[in-house]
């Protein structure tokens, strides 16, 4: 199949109708998150409940998925955000995106709601909606096994929800290949609300590109860059966890601590969770996504103790801090067991951590008691409690009934001032590290179009302590590597917001980009790859303009559906009032006045109105986003 001849499959679960259209009609949005965002914007009416039939759930492969562009099989799930009521995308590694592309399908758009549980099976372009009553109630691993057995093919790839998605838990996510999460925005709950248990795919096709020899010559060059990158060497040696989990290799990397009350743990506290110990005690082998030159994952097995025999792919930095430091848990095997459970039940680690950590904090402060918790004593560092709460939340029983609605809603329900301790960004639970000490990173989190998370504009330049010369040369921001600096960060974040979209358009992983090393894939490289694959003639600047367009579509969706403005881009009171208590970042805190200045610069960089944070007619006309202008005019939130 020629790379531009793929299809968009529209699947209406209410009518059980399937309609196919050519992906090429969406060419201006390129692929992946670009097309997904546009379709969500077009399809979802204002005021739609994310858990209603009127929401759409979209699965979007990248334009270059199915080629040997490095690590290019990432999948973007785009839908309406269950927490913020605005936009979300969730990004998943795994092999699912590749299989879907090889089946001839670029995008799957799911509408409506099935009357009883179903799963979708895509078999080399042929699409079936199959009965799934026998799968309902199973965790994601058992679901994958069952589907493969039922269809008689162990190479079928599956994305599914566990009990959390079935129970419409706020934090529910979609799990691919057992341990790869599309985590953000409650997309697992959206899937559950449609009575859609799983999507399975088998693809035995092939992809033909415009200039294969030139493309492969370029790929030979691109792949070599990974061998030459110091950051990639670190990933290859220590895996994702080792680079910044558990304090990182040197024990000095910031961590979320006790509901983000602090961001540093001394090495003596993290000695038992040092990356080297995980490697020595549990690592069976390293693993990578399809075609990945970094292989940042690993397969672990526990050989003794309470969880002897546990086997899983692990351990991401995010999962460590969410199930570890943010709850003051330093027991390695508890963290791995909890990781296993959230993959099986299908829950996002960050927003899950936010609600559990909040509950512990307000219990400690006496705002709630054992009557509210139905007998549970909530303490920091309690491993058994974590395991119990994960199970209760996924199944919406016990105290889990309140927590299952996410930290924002739970705090409104409890009241009594508990709202003050709820860590969230635009109502989506938050668990992040390095927020107080890296101001650009913090800005990228607060302004992200998906309500938090660091996969929009949050730059890694500060953690890498990028030199002034490098910052100036690549981003026009000499302060890019200085975490303390506010000046220049607005510009830096707005640049990363449009640049990172290029990875999501093409299916490449963020780790292949300037996000981790300016020696890797830049805008001109993305353009060259795309041109050689498709015969188009885009430049790096053209692509950044496309990224800006797509980001503005997402922003407009947030304005229309979430009603967000400047006040929603402010940091949580903990981040401005409670400095880091110890370590190399002692005293770090966000200065509210300087934040306002940084936000002004950010809005100006996008061409948005500085006072309100809203989009301007002028900016959208320059981007030729006329449909967006029309929709915003209806809301009276377009600034002239």
């Amino acid at each position: 199949m020629k790379i531009l001849d793929g299809k968009v499959a529209w699947i209406d679960l209410s009518s059980k109708q399937v309609k196919m259209e050519d992906t090429s009609i969406y060419q201006q949005y390129v692929g992946g998150r670009g097309i997904g965002s546009y379709i969500v914007f077009q399809e979802v009416p204002k005021g739609t409940d994310p858990l209603s039939e009127a929401n759409v759930l979209t699965f979007n492969t990248g334009l270059l998925t199915g080629t040997l562009a490095p690590a290019s099989a990432r999948l973007s799930i785009c839908t309406k955000n269950v927490s913020s009521q605005g936009y979300t995308f969730a990004s998943s590694g795994s092999f699912f995106g590749l299989e879907l592309k090889l089946a001839g399908i670029d995008h799957v758009i799911v509408k409506g709601k099935a009357s009883t549980p179903v799963y979708i099976f895509i078999n080399d372009g042929k699409i079936e909606i199959r009965e799934a009553d026998h799968l309902w109630g199973k965790d994601t691993w058992k679901t994958e096994c069952s589907i493969r057995n039922e269809l008689g093919d162990p190479q079928i790839r599956v994305g599914s929800i566990g009990q959390a998605g079935e129970n419409l838990v706020n934090m529910a996510c979609i799990i691919f290949d057992r341990n790869r999460a599309a985590g953000w925005g409650g997309c697992g709950a959206v899937m559950g609300s449609k009575n859609l248990k799983a999507i399975a795919v088998r693809g035995t096709g092939s992809i033909d590109i415009d200039s294969p020899k030139e493309f492969m010559d370029f790929m030979t060059d691109i792949w070599k860059r990974f061998d030459n990158s110091q950051t990639v060497k670190l990933f290859r040696k220590y895996a994702n966890y080792g680079t910044s989990g558990g304090g990182g290799v040197l024990g000095t990397t910031p961590q979320s601590v006790r509901n983000m009350n602090d961001e540093y743990l001394p090495p003596e506290k993290t000695v038992n969770i040092h990356p080297q110990i995980f490697k020595e005690k549990y690592e069976k082998r390293r693993l990578g996504c399809f075609g990945c030159p970094i292989y940042c994952s690993a397969f672990y097995e526990i050989h003794e103790g309470k969880y002897k025999g546990l086997k899983l792919e692990a351990l991401k930095t995010n999962v460590y801090r969410a199930l570890g430091s943010n709850l003051d848990i330093t027991d390695r095997e508890t963290i791995l067991k909890a990781n296993d459970l959230i993959d099986r039940y299908g829950m996002n680690c960050d927003s899950l951590s936010a609600v559990i950590a909040w509950a512990i904090e307000i219990f400690e402060k006496g705002i709630i008691d054992k009557e509210t918790t139905q007998g549970l004593e909530l303490r920091w560092g309690d491993s058994d409690l974590l395991i119990e709460l994960i199970t209760q939340i996924a199944n919406r029983n016990g105290f889990g009934k309140i927590l299952a609605d996410g930290v924002y809603k739970a705090s409104l329900k409890i009241g009594k001032g508990s709202e003050r301790y709820a860590m969230h960004i635009k109502k989506h639970g938050m668990c992040e590290q390095a927020v107080r000490m890296n101001k650009g990173w913090a800005l990228g989190l607060m302004t992200a179009s998906i309500a938090g998370g660091h996969l929009c504009g949050a730059p890694n330049t500060e953690q890498r302590m990028m030199s002034r010369t490098e910052g100036e040369n690549y981003f026009g921001v000499a302060t890019a590597g200085d975490g303390n600096a506010y000046a220049g960060k607005g510009k830096l974040v707005s640049w990363f917001e449009k640049y990172k979209i290029l990875a999501d358009l093409t299916g490449l992983c963020s780790f292949t980009t300037y996000w981790i090393d300016t020696g890797l894939v830049g805008p001109a490289d993305f353009a060259h790859m795309i041109n050689l694959a498709t015969g188009w003639t885009l430049s790096g600047e053209d692509l950044l303009q496309i990224g800006e367009r797509i980001y503005n579509i997402e922003k407009a969706f947030n304005t229309i559906h979430g009603g967000f403005g400047r006040s929603d881009d402010m940091p949580h009171q903990k981040l401005t009032n409670i400095p880091v208590r110890s370590g190399p970042f002692k005293g770090s805190v966000i200065d509210p006045e300087k934040w306002e200045g940084m936000l002004d610069e950010y809005y100006e960089s996008h061409g948005w109105d500085v006072t309100t944070g809203l989009q301007t007619r002028n900016c959208l006309e320059k981007l030729k986003l006329y449909e967006v202008i029309e929709r915003l005019e209806d809301t009276e939130k377009l600034i002239d």
């Binding site: 040997l68 092939s206 294969p212 492969m216 290859r236 082998r285 399809f290 075609g291 990945c292 292989y295």
Partner: protein, 92 residues
Amino acid sequence: MDQIHRYEVTIDIDLCTGCQACQMVCAYHLTGSFSLENSCINILVNNDNGDINTTFDEKKCDMCSNEDLPLCLNFCPPKAISITRKPAVLQE
């Protein structure tokens, strides 16, 4: 009778990460298209226990004739692949 050389592609299982880049690049060399079918190499990761199973079809392998280097070597980041040339055999 012609002499033909066979090549043995060996994959170090301890180093392999299961990424299947070698499987795809081999299929690309043989067919000009990107796919996981029609390759000399097949990689299967067992998600239950983390084992990786690999197979190699030596009859299909032409050591990437017309390439500078065997492509599977070039596209194996953990350097798990090695290639040895087997003694010449006579073809009937």
